[in-house]
Every structure is written in C-alpha cells, then in structure tokens.
C-alpha cells in the first residue's frame, strides 16, 4: 500500500489533484452544513449542471481555461437561483430543477452541435483527475483559501442565519448579503470541484459530510469540524482507491462518503442503545 501511495504521488497530476481535491473537499464540507440545514442541499446539483452548460460553451469556443467563464457564470446562476427560490411562486427545489435541467439541456445541445460527446465532455460529466492543469491548480488554491477565510470570518453570522433567519433579520443582520455569500462561495467550490468530481457527482461532497456528521454530533461547531475531516479523509481514501483499482475518482469518493455515512449511523445506534 505504501509503495502504491509513493508511486501515486510521484506523478505531478496526482499531486495537483490531491491538493485541489483536499481544499475543495474542505470548503465543500464547511459550506455543506449550512446548505443542508437551510434545505438548499440540492443547490450544488443545480449549479454543477449550470457549470456543465457553461464549460461546454467555453470548450466549443476553444477557451483554454474555461474556469474563467464558468466561475462568474455559476456565481450569477447561484444568486438568481436563491432570488427565484425566495421571492417567486417557484420555490427552492423546483427552481433548482428548472434551472439545472435547462442548463444541462443547453450543454448537451451545444455539445451535439459542436464537438460531439468527446473526452472533454465526458470528463466534465464524470470527472477526471487528469484534467487539472497548473492554471486550474493556482486558481483552485486561491479560490479555496478565499472561501475558507471568508467562512471563518463570517462563521458566527452564518450560524445565526442558518439557525433562524427571522431572528437574525430582526436583530439587524444583513441576511440577504450572507445568504448570497453562501451561494457565491458554493458556486466557486462547485466549479473548481466539478472538473475532478464531475457534474453528476459534485453535489455529493457538499451533502454527504454534513449529513454524516449530523448523525453523531450535536453542536454546530463539532458538526463543521467533523464534516471537514470526513470530507477530506473520504477524498484522500477515494483518490487512493481510484488510483489503485482504476475506478472513476468521483464515483469512488462518493462511495467512500457513503461508507462513512453508514459507519456514523451505526456508531450513533450503538451509542444510543
């Protein structure tokens, strides 16, 4: 096993994937707790589909770094999604379903009209650690650090608005601004992470660690810390298994997350019996 790990990390692409993946998993877990508790868990799914649509457009136009287009595009989509969900007659989950299926349809249509279902498109759909370039690495590290720092700075406020929006509004917190902040940070993490995890699986790294930790821990702080650990360890174990057994990285990470979820459930049952 140690030999495999040593060999695995001798490749530059694995080093890049490990660094980007660890940071993305950490940030996704931090944001995931608020998203799951605010019942916006599926926002990750919706935004990844929007990201897919934008990435296919960028690829069709031959952009070398499609993230430059995808990040602002998905941020705008995230804010629109929250606005539609909060203010109109189309509520949260329906708004997400509407936008995500439309974006996916646009992506598939553009793919059919231009490149066809080539390797690039398959990588967007199911993820690949081979696709992470050096530019992606710098962008990912920068963006992940910004997300993590903002999360720490606004931790108290994010707790307050996640727990009780009305109380927070009544006491003068700018709930709209902080909700938009969560949406923007989520959008950034989704775009960075979907290259590795794939459009179809990226939302799982937002949802799973939060749900897993909530089975066992009973304070917000502990749930956040546990989510971060579960997410990073699931990613690293998933990356190793994916390399060792030649399975899709995104799918392996999701399955490891599932095992963690089952284990936490079992421990919770044992403790309470």
């Amino acid at each position: 096993m140690i030999e495999t790990i040593t060999k695995m990390f001798s490749y530059a692409f694995v080093q890049r994937a490990a660094l980007v993946g660890t940071l993305v998993s950490l940030c996704a877990a931090l944001l995931g707790v608020s998203l799951v508790l605010k019942r916006y868990a599926m926002i990750g799914d919706g935004l990844s589909h929007v990201g897919f649509g934008i990435l296919t457009i960028a690829t069709a136009f031959g952009m070398t770094t499609p993230l430059y287009l995808a990040i602002p595009g998905v941020i705008i989509a995230a804010i629109i999604l929250l606005k539609i969900g909060n203010n109109s007659q189309i509520k949260g989950d329906s708004a997400i379903a509407l936008i995500s299926s439309t974006a996916l349809a646009i992506g598939v249509a553009i793919t059919s009209l231009t490149t066809g279902l080539n390797t690039d498109v398959c990588n967007f759909m199911f993820g690949s650690i081979l696709t992470i370039s050096e530019t992606d690495l710098y962008l990912s590290v920068g963006a992940s650090l910004v997300v993590a720092i903002l999360f720490i700075i606004y931790y108290r406020k994010l707790f307050a608005i996640t727990f009780d929006e009305d109380f927070s509004k009544a006491t003068g917190l700018n709930v709209v601004m902080y909700t938009n902040l969560i949406a923007v940070l989520t959008a950034v993490i989704i775009v960075i992470g979907m290259r590795m995890m794939g459009t179809m699986l990226i939302s799982s790294i937002i949802i799973f660690p939060a749900l897993t930790s909530m089975r066992l821990f009973k304070s917000f702080k502990k749930v956040i810390i546990s989510s971060a650990f579960v997410s990073v360890f699931s990613f690293l174990i998933g990356l190793y298994l994916s390399y060792a057994y030649d399975i899709s990285t995104g799918a392996t990470i999701v399955l490891v997350n599932l095992i963690a979820f089952i284990c936490f459930n079992l421990v919770n049952k044992i403790i309470h019996e």
Binding site: D166, F167, K218
Partner: protein
C-alpha cells in the same frame, strides 16, 4: 418614554384584505403587553412590521431600541445540531457585529442569562434534544442576549403543556419585574396570558379592538 411607536399602520398581503388597518399603539419602558386576537386578526403581522421583517404599506413605526425576538416555534428547525450555548451566544452577535469571535463580554453575558434562566448547567446539551418548554427558554435567553431592554415573543407557549406555559409566563413576569425588561407577547392563550401582563391589546380584523389595563379587559374581548 415610548420604546415602540406605531402610527396608523396598514399592511395587506397580495390579493387579500388588510391584515392591519390603521393600527396605532405605543409601548413604554417596563411594560408587559399581551397582544391577543383571533387567527388572522393581524397579531403576528403587527409584530413583523415592528421588527422590520415586513414593510407597512402605510403609516409609521418608530423603534428607539434594538428588539430581541422569539419567533413562532414552527419557524425553527427542530433537528438543528446546535448546543444551548451556541444558540444563546448567537443572540450577542449584534452587540459586536464586526468581531470575528465572541468577545469575553459576550460570553459573560450569555453565561449570566443562562444562569438566570436555569440553562447554565445543561448548556452543552443539544437544542434538538430539549423539551418544548426548554427550547423556548433557550430562545428567550437568546432574545435577551440581543437586547436587555425589549423583547417581542410570538406565541411563546404554542404547543406547550399548560404547566410548562405557566412556567414560561412566570419567567417572563420575573424578567419584566426584576430586570425591567419590556415584554410584548402575542398569545392565543388569552385567559392565562393576561394574568401575567400589565396591559392588553386586542386586535380584530386588523384594527385595535381594545387597548388598556388588564383590570379593564375581560376575556372574550368585551370592554368594561
């Protein structure tokens, strides 16, 4: 001195008749006001307008101090993983809004309020594992941490056993008398609630039907 001044406030939800139809009232320091009325009479809407959660269509509301708020229980997620301490501390955020961490003063305040409301010993317990009455006490403690001057409570005893409701009312009465906390409470539980307050405001069809001392009010809305 009035802490809350409501002047001719009108509010209507889209496509519906006026939820508030020219409501005016003043709440002074140290009062314990109970706002009563039937379902749809405009009680919660009035509170939300005072708290700036809803904008009145007409009229004016002047609030001279930050208000602590206890929302209706149904608006809070019952399965939220948060300790009592975390919930109570979150009330202090507005005191030092720019600070990244809770200050020593915030923690001292939260501890004092938790001790006052018999929550300190169980502060590490999870909010979702508490009984309905205990959860309400935690939320009241959070509201007091946001301001020690005036709190608004929307149906604080909704869904609670009568004995627990009485404990909540007694606690509010104690806070009102000892800490000089101004309390504005919306309640369905008219017969019990009016025993603890100093003033009753009854709303009917969005209008003030009665506004006066408890001794002048009879349950059922009839004026003396």
């Amino acid at each position: 001195m009035s802490l809350i001044q409501v002047r001719g406030v009108h509010y209507n939800y889209p496509g519906k008749k006026d939820a508030l139809d020219g409501v005016s009232l003043d709440v002074g320091e140290g009062e314990f006001v109970c706002v009563v009325g039937e379902n749809g009479s405009g009680k919660s809407t009035l509170m939300k307008c005072i708290l700036d959660l809803q904008k009145p269509k007409k009229g004016e509301i002047i609030v001279s101090h930050r208000i602590g708020y206890l929302p209706q229980k149904t608006e809070i997620q019952s399965n939220f993983p948060a300790s009592i301490e975390e919930v109570v501390l979150s009330g202090t955020i507005v005191n030092h809004i720019k600070s990244i961490w809770y200050t020593k003063r915030d923690r001292a305040m939260a501890n004092r309020v938790m001790k006052d409301l018999d929550l300190y010993e169980i502060r590490k317990k999870c909010f979702r594992d508490l009984s309905g009455g205990q959860q309400q006490r935690v939320l009241i403690a959070r509201a007091i941490c946001a301001t020690e001057k005036v709190i608004i409570l929307d149906e604080p005893t909704n869904g609670l056993d009568p004995s627990i409701s009485i404990q909540i009312y007694e606690m509010l009465k104690r806070l009102n008398e000892k800490r000089k906390l101004t309390v504005v409470m919306v309640s369905h539980d008219i017969s019990r609630a009016v025993q603890y307050c100093t003033r009753v405001v009854e709303l009917k069809d969005g209008k003030v039907e009665f506004d006066g001392q408890v001794k002048d009010y009879r349950v059922g809305g009839a004026k003396k």
